[in-house]
C-alpha cells in the first residue's frame, strides 16, 4: 500500500449533522418550485403529444380545439421559437417540439399556455395529431434487426486477443442476458417557473441538476446571449440523474411561454407525462464469452454491451463509456475486449441515472462470476476473490493502473461480520430440506471510478461572503437534490472559519453567482464544490490573518480560528468583531474559489490515460428466499460495508449508502419498464411501476462505514464520493437470487434476467428443471 494519509483533526467536518433543510422538510416548509407563491398573472404550460405512433411523418396537426379550450392563452409550436429548436445537451438532436416527424411515442409536438394547470392539461388532450406510421424499432433486437443507424459510433476497450484464447480454452462459457432500464421516480416531478425580465431577459427557476445547461438551452432557444438568462435552483425533490439533461425541455417550455405572453409561466409535468416523456436508465442486452481455469480464474473476456439509447444521443456517450469502464468491477481480465453499441430505438432518449451506466457494466462482471462459480460448483465468493485486482494484476481494460485497491480488505471484513460461511452452510441445509422454498446468499464487491470521464467537467466554482457580524453567505455550483451536498459544503466552510454551520447561510444555486458550472453528477458534488468553497473561504481567512498580523503585531501561527472564536495571541474575539475591524480597514471579505481535479487525463480516441482520480469501494452480502412455484422473492438480510474515505458527514453518507442500495435493489427486482409493440410505455405511473416500499427493505439491514484512514487521493478532507457507488451494492441481491435458483440444479448457471420479477425468477426456475 502507498504511504498513509497524514493525520489531522477537525471540529465540524466529520460531524453527523442533520440535513440543512431537515426541520423544513418535516414541516412542509422547504420550498420547491411548485410551492413558490406565484406572482399575479402567472400562467401554466402543458406539453402535448400524439396519442398514437412511435415513428413517422406528422400528417395532421389540428390544434383548433386546443386553442378554443377554456382558459387557453396561447398554443406553442416550433414556429414560435425565436432561436434554436433544441434542448439536447450536446448533439443538437433533441427538438423541443417535433416539427415534421415523430421519433418516439410521447414526443412533444406542441404546448398550451392557460390560466390554470388543469386548463392547460385538459386543452392539451384536445389536439388531433395524425402520424403516417413507419415501422418502429422498440427493443435492442428490433434495432439490430432493422439495422437502424446507431445514435453514436461503437467503441471498444481491448487488450490482447481474447477471441483466440477463448477458442483455445478448455473451460469457457457463452452467455447472453438482458438488464432492464429504470425510471428515476424522483418524488418531485419535472418543474420550471419562468419570469420574463426587462430587455429580453429571463429568470428561470428550474428543478435541475444542471442550471448552466438550462441557462444555455433557454438562451439558445430564445436567441439571446447567455448573460440574459439566469437559472436558479434551491433544491430538487430528488434527481438521480433524471434532472441532468432532462430538465431543460420543461424550462424551455416555461421560458417560451413567458416570452410569448410576457407573463410568468410555470411548467409542471403530470406524473404520467413525466414518465412517458423523460429518459430513463439504459437497458441493455449483454453478450459475452469467457475463458477461465478450473479454479474459476478468468483468462479472457470478450463482451459486447448492446444498449438501448432511444431516439437521440442525449448523454449516451458518457453513459455507455462508463458501462465499459465498469464492466470489470473489481476484477482483472487478462485478455479482454469490451465492445459497446449505442443503438437507436423509437423510444424516449435514455439518460443519466445514478451510476451512469456503471451498474449495467458491473452486471456483466457479477454475472460472469456467478456463471463460472455455478458451472464449476464453487462458492461464488471464492471465484470473486480469485479474480480480484492484485499485485501484477492491476491494469484495467482501459489501461489505467489500480493503485488504491482495498477491495480484499473490505470483503475480508464483511465476510467475517456477515458470518458468511456459517450462513452458507445453514442455507445448504435449508435448501436440502425445503422443496418449495430455496434460499440464496451472495457477497459482491463494488469498485467505482470517481471523476467525470469528460475531463473538462471536473471543475467547480464557489462564492463566499463574510459579513461584518461574522455570518457567512455560501454559494457554489453544485445543486441540492437531497443528497446533502449543501450541508457538507457548509461544514467545510464552517471548519475553515472555525464557526458552527448555523452561521453559514446556504443559498440557492444560481448561474448569476457561480457561472459555467458542471452538472451535479458523477458523485462529484462534494469533491468539487467542497474544494472550491474551501478555497474561497481560505482566501478570506488569509486576508484576515494578514490583517491581524499587522493590526496586532503577531506572528501568523499565533492566530487560530476555532470554536466560533478567533484567537489572536492572548486575546479572543468573535469572527464578527474581526470581520468588522477588517472591513473598517478596507479588507475585501468576499472571494470566489475554484477547483479543478488534478492528475486526470483521458484520451478517448487512443483509449489511454488515467480517467479516474480514485476509486470508491464497498461490498454487500444479501440473503434471499424464493418461492419456486410462483417466483416470489423476499430479501431476508443485507450486510453492507462501504468505503467513504474519511466521512465529511457520516449521517449523510449512511443515508446515501442505504438509499442507493435500496434504489439498486428496486432496479434489479420490482422495477420493470414495459413498452408495448406500438412503443407506448405501459408502466407510466406508480400504480404499474413499482419502486421499493418500506416493507421491501429487510428488517435485518446492517450497514457500516469502512474504517478508512482517509482517501489516498488528496480530496476534500480525504473523503470519498458516495452518491452513486452504493447503488451497485444491490448486485448482491441479484446474485443471491441467482444462487437460490442454482440450488435447484448444481453445476448449472441460472439464466436469470434483470429485473428479477416473480415472472423472471419463475422463468429461470423452469429453465433449470427443463
Amino acid at each position: 500500500m502507498p504511504a498513509e494519509v497524514k493525520r489531522f483533526t477537525t471540529e465540524t467536518v466529520g460531524l453527523a449533522l442533520a440535513h440543512d433543510s431537515a426541520a423544513l422538510h418535516v414541516q412542509g416548509r422547504a420550498i420547491y418550485i411548485d410551492d413558490m407563491r406565484e406572482p399575479e398573472g402567472t400562467l401554466h404550460v402543458a406539453p402535448g403529444y400524439a396519442s398514437e405512433g412511435a415513428k413517422g411523418r406528422i400528417t395532421r396537426c389540428d390544434l383548433d380545439a386546443v386553442r378554443n379550450s377554456p382558459g387557453v392563452v396561447a398554443v406553442l409550436t416550433a414556429a414560435d421559437i425565436p432561436g434554436v429548436n433544441d434542448c439536447s445537451p450536446a448533439m443538437g438532436d433533441d427538438p423541443i417540439f417535433a416539427e415534421d416527424e415523430i421519433l418516439f411515442h410521447g414526443q412533444v409536438v406542441f404546448a398550451v399556455v392557460a390560466g390554470t394547470h388543469d386548463q392547460a392539461r385538459r386543452a392539451a388532450r384536445r389536439a388531433r395529431i395524425e402520424i403516417a406510421k413507419d415501422p418502429a424499432a422498440i427493443t435492442v433486437e428490433d434495432a439490430l434487426e432493422q439495422g437502424t443507424p446507431d445514435v453514436l459510433p461503437p467503441y471498444e476497450f481491448r487488450r490482447g486477443e481474447p477471441e483466440k484464447r477463448i477458442a483455445a480454452a478448455k473451460m469457457r462459457l457463452s452467455d447472453s442476458f438482458h438488464v432492464g432500464g429504470q425510471e428515476h421516480f424522483y418524488l418531485e416531478g419535472q418543474v420550471a417557473f419562468a419570469m420574463p425580465e426587462e430587455a429580453g431577459g429571463m429568470t428561470v427557476y428550474s428543478s435541475t441538476q444542471h442550471p448552466s445547461e438550462v441557462q444555455h438551452c433557454v438562451a439558445k432557444m430564445l436567441g439571446v446571449a447567455d448573460a440574459f438568462v439566469t437559472c436558479e435552483c434551491r433544491r430538487m425533490g430528488g434527481g438521480f440523474g433524471g434532472k441532468e439533461s432532462q430538465a431543460a425541455q420543461w424550462a424551455a417550455l416555461a421560458a417560451l411561454g413567458a416570452h410569448k405572453t410576457g407573463r410568468p409561466v410555470k411548467c409542471r409535468l403530470d406524473r404520467d407525462d413525466d414518465m412517458i416523456m423523460t429518459g430513463k436508465r439504459h437497458d441493455m442486452r449483454i453478450d459475452y464469452d469467457a475463458a477461465f481455469d478450473k479454479t474459476g480464474r478468468l483468462t479472457a473476456v470478450d463482451a459486447s454491451l448492446l444498449s438501448r439509447c432511444g431516439y437521440s444521443a442525449d448523454l449516451s456517450l458518457g453513459v455507455n463509456d462508463r458501462a465499459m469502464f465498469h464492466s470489470d468491477n473489481a476484477y482483472y481480465y487478462p485478455a479482454v475486449s469490451i465492445e459497446s453499441r449505442r443503438l437507436r430505438t423509437n423510444t424516449v432518449s435514455n439518460t443519466a441515472f445514478r451510476g451512469f451506466g456503471g451498474p449495467q457494466g458491473m452486471m456483466l462482471a457479477e454475472r460472469m462470476m456467478d456463471a463460472i462459480a455455478h458451472r464449476l460448483a464453487l462458492d461464488p465468493l471464492h471465484v470473486r476473490k480469485r479474480n480480484f485486482y492484485g499485485p501484477k494484476r492491476d491494469r484495467t481494460p482501459y489501461g489505467m493502473k489500480v493503485t488504491d485497491n482495498i477491495i480484499a480488505e473490505v470483503v475480508a471484513e464483511l465476510e467475517k461480520t456477515s458470518d458468511y460461511y456459517a450462513r452458507r452452510e445453514a442455507i445448504k441445509d435449508f435448501n436440502a430440506k425445503n422443496r418449495i422454498l430455496k434460499k440464496g446468499l451472495a457477497l459482491t464487491p463494488v469498485k467505482f471510478g470517481i471523476s467525470f470521464t469528460l475531463i473538462h467537467l471536473n471543475q467547480a466554482g464557489a462564492l463566499v461572503h463574510l459579513y461584518t457580524d461574522g455570518s457567512v453567505h455560501l454559494n457554489h455550483g453544485g445543486t441540492e437534490m437531497g443528497q446533502g451536498l449543501y450541508i457538507k459544503v457548509a461544514q467545510v466552510v464552517a471548519e475553515e472559519f472555525g464557526i458552527t454551520p448555523d452561521r453559514v447561510k446556504i443559498t440557492a444555486t444560481t448561474t448569476g453567482k457561480v457561472p459555467n458550472t458542471s452538472p451535479t453528477a458523477a458523485s462529484s458534488g462534494s469533491d468539487l464544490n467542497g474544494m472550491a468553497a474551501k478555497e474561497a473561504a481560505s482566501q478570506i481567512k488569509k486576508r484576515l490573518i494578514a490583517f491581524a498580523e499587522r493590526e496586532w503585531q503577531v506572528a501568523p501561527d499565533q492566530i487560530r480560528f476555532e470554536k466560533g472564536r478567533v484567537i489572536i495571541a492572548n486575546q479572543s474575539m468573535s469572527l464578527g468583531e474581526l470581520a468588522k475591524r477588517a472591513h473598517q480597514a478596507r479588507i475585501q471579505l468576499s472571494a470566489t474559489g475554484f477547483y479543478a481535479t488534478p492528475n486526470i487525463t483521458w484520451n478517448r480516441d487512443k483509449v489511454k490515460g488515467k480517467p479516474f482520480f480514485y476509486f470508491a469501494y464497498g461490498a454487500s452480502c444479501s440473503e434471499v428466499t424464493i418461492d419456486t412455484l410462483t417466483g416470489e422473492m423476499r430479501v431476508d438480510r443485507v450486510d453492507i460495508l462501504h468505503d467513504v474515505g474519511r466521512s465529511l458527514n457520516p449521517a449523510i453518507d449512511l443515508g446515501q449508502i442505504e438509499g442507493g442500495f435500496v434504489q439498486g435493489m428496486g432496479w434489479l427486482t420490482t422495477e420493470e419498464l414495459v413498452f408495448d409493440k406500438e412503443g407506448r410505455l405501459r408502466t407510466h405511473a406508480p400504480s404499474t411501476y413499482k419502486i421499493p416500499c418500506a416493507s421491501d427493505v429487510p428488517a435485518d439491514f446492517r450497514v457500516k462505514l469502512f474504517a478508512s484512514p482517509g482517501n489516498l487521493a488528496n480530496t476534500i478532507y480525504r473523503s470519498k464520493a458516495v452518491g452513486e457507488p452504493p447503488l451497485m451494492l444491490a448486485l448482491s441481491v441479484f446474485s443471491a437470487i441467482t444462487d437460490a435458483i442454482a440450488a435447484l440444479k448444481p453445476g448449472t448457471a441460472p439464466p436469470l434476467e434483470a429485473p428479477a420479477t416473480p415472472e423472471a425468477i419463475l422463468k429461470a426456475v423452469k429453465a433449470m428443471s427443463a
Binding site: 424522483y186 404499474t688 416500499c693
Partner: protein, 472 residues
C-alpha cells in the same frame, strides 16, 4: 365549490397551504397524505388519506390535519422531531406525507412495532432514504402514548365532530352540476331517480383518477359517505354483511376474522390511505379491473344486495360481473351491501396475491380457494381467480375435477389442475405474460392443496405465513 375539486387542489391552490405535495396525482405515492379525523362509533379516529384523489366534498364533517398544522409555537411535533433526529428526510418531498401517515399512527395509541410501521407506510414512497431511518423515527415516536395538541383536545374534537353530524342531506350546486351527499335512503332514492346519469361516489380511490388522470368532466356526483344505512358492518354467527359505503379499513377487522389469508389480502389491498377511503362496495360496483377482493369474496360464496329506489334484489357476486367494464347494475341502481359467509368447520380457505411488489400493488394473479372437506376427501370446492379473465371468475371445470379427490392424492390434483387451461385463457400485459399467469394459477392451486393437506405455510410461502398472522 366545484364538484370535482380535490382536497389537494383546494389546499394548495385556494388555501396556499403548500406543505402538502403532489407526487403522482393518483393515490399511489402518498406525498399528498393528510390526516382525516372522524368519529367511528363515537370515538375520534385519525386516518391517513391521499388528498390528491379525495374530493373536497368528502371531507364534510371531518377534521383535516395537514403538515402545515403540526409544529406549534416554533416547536416541532414529536413525529417531526423524530424524523429530524433519525435523518429521515433527504430530498424532503415525500416527507410531509410520511409525517402525516405517522401522525395518524401516533394518535392511534398503538405502540408500534416494525410490522405496524411498514404497514402504516405502505402507501408512502420514498426514493432517497431506503426507509430505515423513517421506520426508526416511527418506532421512536409512535409509542402508544400520544401527547400533543390533538390528543389533549380529543374530547373537544369529538364533541365538535358529533355536532357537525346532523344527519342532514348535503347538496351543493344545481341540477346541472352538483356534489350531493344524501343522508337518508329517501333522499338517495330521489336523487338517483332524478339523476340516473350522476356518478355514485364512495371512496373516490378510483373515481378520483377519472378526474385527475382521465380528465373527465363529472358534473354530477352523489357521495354515499353520509348514508348511515350503507355504512354498517353487521356480523352474525355465519356471515359478515358490509354496507356498500363501508371502507376497507372499517371492514378489515370483521372480514379479516374470517381467515388469516383474507386478513393478509386486505392488508395488501392498496395502502392505509387507500383503505381509509376506498370501499368494498365501491370496488365491486364499478367493476374496476383492479379489484383484488372480489375473487376471494366469490370463493367464500358472497352475495350482493342491489337496490333501486325501494326495490331490492340479490345476486351472487360472481354473476354481477358480466364482462370487462360491464356489471349487472341498472342506471340508478346501487349496490347496497355485500354478505360474506363465514367459514364452516369443514371448510378450508386459501388465498394468494401475486404481485411485483408485495405491498400496495395490483395482482397479476389472484387465486382464492374454499374447499369443503369430508375428512380427507374434498367434498366440494369454490375456486375463483382474478387476472385470468376479463372479470373475476370461478374455475368451474377445475372445481368439478377436484371434487371427491383425496387430500393425499397429489397426482389427482395435478390432473385436476389441467382443467385450469379450459377454465381460463389469460392475456399478457404489463403485469405478467399469459404464460406466467397460467403457470402461476396452476402452482397456486397445487400450493393451496399442499397446505391444506398439512404442509406448514412457513415452508410454502415467502410472505403471508399463516402461523405468523395467527400469532398476530
Amino acid at each position: 365549490m366545484a364538484p370535482m375539486r380535490t382536497l389537494l387542489d383546494y389546499l394548495r391552490l385556494e388555501e396556499a397551504s403548500r406543505g402538502t405535495k403532489e407526487g403522482c396525482g393518483e393515490g399511489d405515492c402518498g406525498a399528498c397524505t393528510v390526516s382525516l379525523g372522524s368519529l367511528k362509533d363515537g370515538r375520534l379516529v385519525y386516518e391517513p388519506v391521499n388528498a390528491c384523489i379525495l374530493l373536497l366534498g368528502q371531507v364534510d364533517g371531518k377534521e383535516v390535519v395537514t403538515v402545515d398544522d403540526l409544529s406549534q409555537g416554533g416547536r416541532l411535533h414529536p413525529i417531526q422531531q423524530a424524523m429530524v433526529d433519525s435523518h429521515g428526510s433527504q430530498c424532503g418531498f415525500c416527507t410531509p406525507g410520511f409525517v402525516m401517515s405517522l401522525f395518524a399512527l401516533y394518535q392511534s395509541g398503538v405502540a408500534a412495532d416494525r410490522q405496524v410501521v411498514v404497514d402504516q407506510l405502505a402507501g408512502n414512497l420514498c426514493r432517497c432514504t431506503g426507509y430505515r431511518p423513517i421506520v426508526e423515527a416511527a418506532l421512536a415516536s409512535c409509542t402508544g402514548r400520544p401527547d400533543d395538541a390533538w390528543s389533549k383536545a380529543r374530547g373537544e374534537t369529538e364533541k365538535t365532530l358529533a355536532g357537525l353530524d346532523d344527519g342532514s342531506d348535503l347538496f351543493i350546486g344545481d341540477d346541472n352540476g352538483f356534489f350531493a351527499a344524501p343522508a337518508s335512503d329517501e333522499a338517495l332514492a330521489q336523487l338517483t331517480e332524478k339523476h340516473p346519469d350522476a356518478v355514485l361516489l364512495s371512496g373516490a380511490t378510483d373515481v378520483g383518477l377519472w378526474i385527475t388522470k382521465q380528465l373527465r368532466d363529472i358534473g354530477k356526483i352523489i357521495h354515499l359517505g353520509r348514508m348511515r344505512s350503507l355504512c354498517r358492518v353487521a356480523e352474525t354467527a355465519d356471515a359478515v354483511t358490509l354496507g356498500a359505503a363501508v371502507t376497507y379499513a372499517e371492514a378489515e377487522r370483521a372480514l379479516g376474522s374470517i381467515d388469516p389469508d383474507l386478513a393478509e389480502l386486505l392488508r395488501r389491498i392498496g395502502s392505509k390511505q387507500v383503505r381509509a377511503s376506498g370501499t368494498v362496495g365501491g370496488n365491486i360496483a364499478n367493476g374496476s379491473p383492479i379489484g383484488d377482493t372480489p375473487p376471494a369474496l366469490i370463493a367464500l360464496g358472497s352475495e350482493l344486495e342491489l337496490r333501486k329506489g325501494t326495490v331490492t334484489r340479490a345476486v351472487a357476486l360472481e354473476d354481477f360481473f358480466i364482462a370487462y367494464g360491464k356489471q349487472d347494475r341498472a342506471p340508478g341502481e346501487i349496490v347496497a351491501s355485500v354478505r360474506v359467509p363465514k367459514l364452516k368447520r369443514d371448510e378450508a380457505f386459501r388465498c394468494y396475491k401475486i404481485t411485483k411488489r408485495f405491498d400496495q400493488d395490483i395482482s397479476s394473479v389472484l387465486a382464492a380457494f374454499k374447499f369443503t372437506l369430508d375428512g380427507r376427501r374434498i367434498a366440494s370446492a369454490r375456486i375463483a381467480y382474478g387476472g385470468m379473465a376479463a372479470t373475476p371468475k370461478r374455475a368451474a371445470k377445475t372445481e368439478a375435477a377436484v371434487q371427491n379427490l383425496s387430500l393425499d392424492d397429489a397426482a389427482g390434483w395435478n390432473q385436476a389442475a389441467d382443467c385450469l387451461s379450459e377454465d381460463f385463457q389469460p392475456i399478457g400485459d404489463h403485469r405478467a405474460s399469459a404464460d406466467y399467469r397460467m403457470q402461476t394459477a396452476r402452482a397456486l392451486f397445487i400450493k393451496a392443496l399442499t397446505e391444506i393437506s398439512g404442509e406448514a405455510t412457513r415452508n410454502t410461502r415467502v410472505t403471508g405465513v399463516r402461523e405468523l398472522v395467527d400469532a398476530g
